[in-house]
Amino acid sequence: MAEPIITMRGVTRAFDDRLAVDDLSLDVVPGTILGVVGPSGSGKTTTIRMLTGTLGRTAGEIRVLGEDPMEFSRRTRGRIAYMPQLFSLYEDLSAQENVGFVAALYGIGPFKRRALIRRALDVVDLWDARHRLARDLSGGMQRRLELACALVHSPDVLFIDEPTAGIDPLLRQSIWDELRELKEQGRTLLVTTQYVSEAEFCDRVALIVDGELVAIDEPEALRQMVFGGDVLQVDTVRAVDPELLSNEPGVERVRQTAPRQLMITVHDAGSMTPRIIDALRTGGVEVAGLEEHQPTFDEVFTGLVEQRRAARGHLDTDASERGAMPNA
């Protein structure tokens, strides 16, 4: 596995006495997309700003391209890009002029700039709107223009803060297509989003809630983490007793979602499917249909958050019990 290009170790950021980010650790390897997912106010933007060096940290260590963001060299700054959450470009400049301005900030001369502007605007499908003033662009076009500005100097690492916030689903898909394309070109992306469903576009996903890292892994592994394995949805021709499968080896859990429907969690869907059909037939139940159920990421993250709360409740109970028995 390649060396991480971004690392955070025990990073904490406090605003007065409130912890916005608490003891966060993560790695991002080159050429991948890390999605940072979490509800509004969970600390995603604070995290991304600490990574770009626009915000200091209270504790912990951060390395991006081998440097501390607070001490970035000019050369390293030239290799990264930051797309802020809010539209911050100049409304009185055209789309082309905005991209040109950002290109010039990176020291790109006027002759080379022209081609790069065209390429960046092409990527986000805004070339035809290049002469329109930024204030006359729709919200979605403004987000794409921000993205074009972030891309114009061909950065190696992109920090993109909520690129799809407030954008319709169709456009969200097209923006993610562009992000995936950038990843295919070998760039490393750290993208925050509050849309849980967008986790499936990422190579790895970090779930942040209340400034804490709840989980970080590949999307499929997170599914497994929540449901304890693959989930099979079985429809039968007559009502079925879930107890019929409870002792079957390889079956982790059986839930009855309807009189003639079971949701069965198994370790491996491929090997378990024929065995479950056999077990049901042996019990006198004909299978009308069987398919692997793909839980949505909303379900996955709800599950993860509930697991965290349960664990916390358990810890809190332990702590209060310890508090009640100081000598224990």
């Binding site: 000019r74 700054r77 930051y82 809010l86 911050s88």
Partner: protein, 398 residues
Amino acid sequence: MRSIAQSIIRVASFTGKELRELMRRPGVLLSLIVGPFLIMFIFGLGYSGARDPFVTEIVIPRGNELPRDPEYYANLAPGRLDVREVGENSEPAEERLRNGDIDLLIVAPENASTELRAGRQTTIRVAWNQIDPVYDQLAGLATSILVSSLNAEIIEQAAAEGISFAEGEIEGEVTNVPPEIIARPTTAATENVAPTAPEVLSFFGPAVFALVIQHLAITLTALSMVRERLSGQMDRFRVAPVSSMELLVGKYIAYAVLSLAVTGLVGVLLVGVLGVPLLGGWLVFAAIVLLLTFASLGVGLLISLIADSERQAVQLSMLILLASVFFSGFVLPVSDFAAWTQYISYTLPVTHGIQTLQEHMLRGGVTSIWMLWTLLAIGVVLYIGSLLRLRRVLRTAD
């Protein structure tokens, strides 16, 4: 070499961006050029510089031999007194003064000539009802002129009576000096040696011009930088390989170019259309404007770096404008203020701008060279201060 070229590209990007943004707001641009000219034009047309004479009533008690013709007294202080009535009773006149029907009341002594011959001093009572400090001073001035003239009149009368008495006693000419010469032995022949005639528009034109340049530079810069901060652009600058020096120089150049362009246009209108003299050359004129702009941009940047919002930036700019109107010598001469207040005056770029522009345009050369150095010093100090502050701001939002 490459990094110098990249620095130039970054500086130019800021300059170009600022100028483009301004060009996209034709209303702003129009008000920048037409506004100052229009203000000066209306000021020149509307302000005569002449103040209305004081509505005056004179009370000469019965038995006093002073003249009773109102025109006679009006002529003693030409243009300053509008003598409506010469009466004998002071009480109704006092009432009219308190009611504001008249501005000035003069009550002559009952028997001035007799008292003078007896070697005793008498008192002329003068009263006015003014809350305006300028009019209060002018009333005092008009009064002293009038009292001097009345004194001379009384001396003249006494002298004439004395000569007549002596002539009667010795039956011959006792002196060849006329009484009016005894009363007024000298007259003044006046001459203003200034190279230009003291006209209201000529005098205030450069002052308004300097004030407009300062206000323009302060407001535009303050708002520009505050907008960058509030819009989140500072985060972009923090991440990009941009230095605070490149950012500042880029903005300075943009506003210097703009100020010079506006100055050129307004200057041509000022001299060519309004006829304000420009005895010095255009080059020095531009240099003064550049120094004034440089210093004013520093003030604007300082405001932008301490203001939390556009509204606060505008408020602070307006405060500077207000301070400039009062303390810069625009309305009241700086020398009229207490010494410690003059320090406030000299920290304002416009104080130096007004005086040096007036000297250069109306006298043909700047004699207060130290003021140009002061402008440069204000500019350099504020530039360095802004640079250090911006460096901190750009380093981190923390």
